[in-house]
Amino acid sequence: MRRILILCLSVVSLVACEADEPVDHSAATPISLNVPGKFPKVVIPADNPLTAEGVALGRRVYYDRNLNTKDKGRACGDCHQQKTGFASANEQGQLAIMPHANLAYDQYFLWNGSKEGSLEDVMVFEIRDFFEADLDYANGNEEYRHLAKLAFGHEEISYKTLGYALAQFSRTQLSGNSKFDKFNRGEGTLTEQEKRGYDLFFTEDADCFHCHSTVLFRDGDFHNIGLDATFHAGNAGRFLVTGDSVDIGKFKTPSLRNVAVTAPYMHDNRFATLEEVVDFYSDQVNFTEFTDPLMNHEGGINMTAAQKEDLIAFLKTLTDEEYLENEDFSNPFNSPTTDR
């Protein structure tokens, strides 16, 4: 109920803030999503169909350093960097920069899930509240007006225009061609060590799959995995959104796609390496009244050194080089044909 209430409130606030321009997609070029094999269906909202011009506009917004009025000179793509899974390292103790891949399936966004709804909702939030994007700049830029006219049927650019374009771009960011995926589709093999790691991951021996679930490697839910034994505003997580004590210390399960390149790890960047992460799950879990039952007991699942190596070898098969190098997701301003 509470969740529905929050959703309603955010919908109301969106409606209140955006004077809707008439939207017309007829001049835009429809494109279809290339959903990787064995992935669930992607639902595309009727009011934001995927078009070449919408995606191009979104990609531009993602990388344009001139839009951000709050943190001048910084684009989405400066924190969310492609070569590191659309994440990057920030300071330990700060909220970690979350990677972007397969967000098309998400319903909750940010570490504590405070943004709930569609990609459109979170992207309008990012561009309006997080960036306070410079609409004068966008409206004074011919390329923006041109793309907006084609994509949405109007030249006037609002937060909604930019947010919807970002949502389209983000929906195309699908990562599903790692070594694991090829194995999973029967197109490739894993080494014996990787296969042992796979079996640890996908059984209750290491029990990772219950939360890092499906081919998305996340469950759309929040968990307290026992990183800490005591809680305060800084690590209360989802509790700060719901006010419900069952949510103390819970954070959004991050996807493990491309995890080998997204260090540091956890919501506060506390672990620098996958070795540290696996040591934590094996031996350092704090089992408090808030810890998820899947963590079993104080300490954790107790893996041998060899098992830890196997598990890490498997985690490394989740790196999708094609995704990290795909030009469609790269910075358009770096390409010689696009001037700023």
């Binding site: 109920m1 509470r2 669930p40 399936y105 319903q107 999973n184 796979y198 079996d199 996908f202 059984t203 209750e204 029990d207 799959f209 219950h210 679930s213 499906t214 998305l216 996340r218 469950d219 759309g220 839910d221 419900d244 069952v246 089992f287 408090t288 009244e289 810890t291 998820d292 039952p293 899947l294 963590m295 079993n296 007991h297 104080e298």
Partner: protein, 250 residues
């Protein structure tokens, strides 16, 4: 959304054979109630104890039922071939199964499959959020979990908390090929379907999953049991005796 029952197949069924007249439509609402040792379930609280002196809480109750049958007083079967997903969360403990366009008359028993028969044990039948919650990994046979029952517990005289996670599902691994769904038959005294809505309660006592006659099982034995056939077999037996039926308001 999670706690909505998976209603699509039943809707299709209804459209195929339902009448448009809502008032006249003989329908049955089954409220799925959950108790621990007879007391109404309150999630996430260390309120409960078993006969071995272990204190415990319940943090997650998700399960599937499929292929329900209503047995008429004369023994005739009314079959509703579908699947239902029950997922409790502490904010909303309501869970119902709604059946419509039923034949009028007196019934004596409700039968159903706890878990999913092969035809319903199919990952492509459920929406993404349900799949994420219930997927059963390929290397143990694929399909879906039939049940996730989880919580925390402490051993007698001990402070330390542990987790139990009692998960059921078919196990196909190595040379094991084992079905772990089972049929439950619950006497339904006084059930009579007339015009309009009839409301009944079907209650599951969670403690009884761990009880067989005078045998009480420790929660330590029901941690990480997905690939333990002997534990699945115990649950399949105990699971016959955890249900009770009542007419709502009586």
């Amino acid at each position: 959304m999670k706690n909505l029952l998976f209603a699509l197949p039943i809707l299709v069924f209804l459209m195929a054979c339902g009448s448009d007249d809502k008032v006249e439509n003989p329908s049955l609402k089954i409220n799925m109630l959950h108790t621990v040792d007879g007391a109404k379930l309150k999630m996430d609280a260390m309120l409960y104890a078993n006969d071995l002196g272990e204190q415990f809480s319940v943090t997650k109750v998700n399960y599937y039922l499929s292929e329900l049958e209503l047995v008429k007083a004369n023994g005739e079967l009314v079959k509703i071939d579908s699947m239902w997903y029950i997922s409790l969360n502490p904010q909303n403990m309501e869970a119902t199964i709604n059946l419509q366009s039923l034949p009028l008359g007196d019934y004596q028993q409700i039968n159903f499959i706890f878990g999913l028969t092969d035809k319903w044990n199919d990952q492509s039948l459920v929406p993404v959020d349900q799949l994420q919650a219930m997927i059963w990994p390929e290397n143990m046979g694929g399909g879906l979990h039939f049940m996730k029952l989880e919580g925390r517990f402490s051993l007698p005289e001990a402070e330390a908390l542990n987790g139990y996670n009692t998960h059921m599902g078919n196990l196909k691994m190595g040379d094991m090929d084992l079905d772990h769904f089972f049929k439950a038959e619950v006497p339904a005294a006084g059930l009579s379907v007339g015009q309009g809505l009839t409301e009944v309660n079907l209650e599951m006592d969670l403690l009884k999953w761990y009880t067989h006659g005078s045998t009480h099982y420790s929660l330590t034995e029901f941690q990480a049991i997905m690939n333990k056939p002997e534990k699945q077999a115990i649950l399949m037996e105990n699971g016959q005796n955890i249900w009770s039926f009542s007419i709502k308001g009586e």
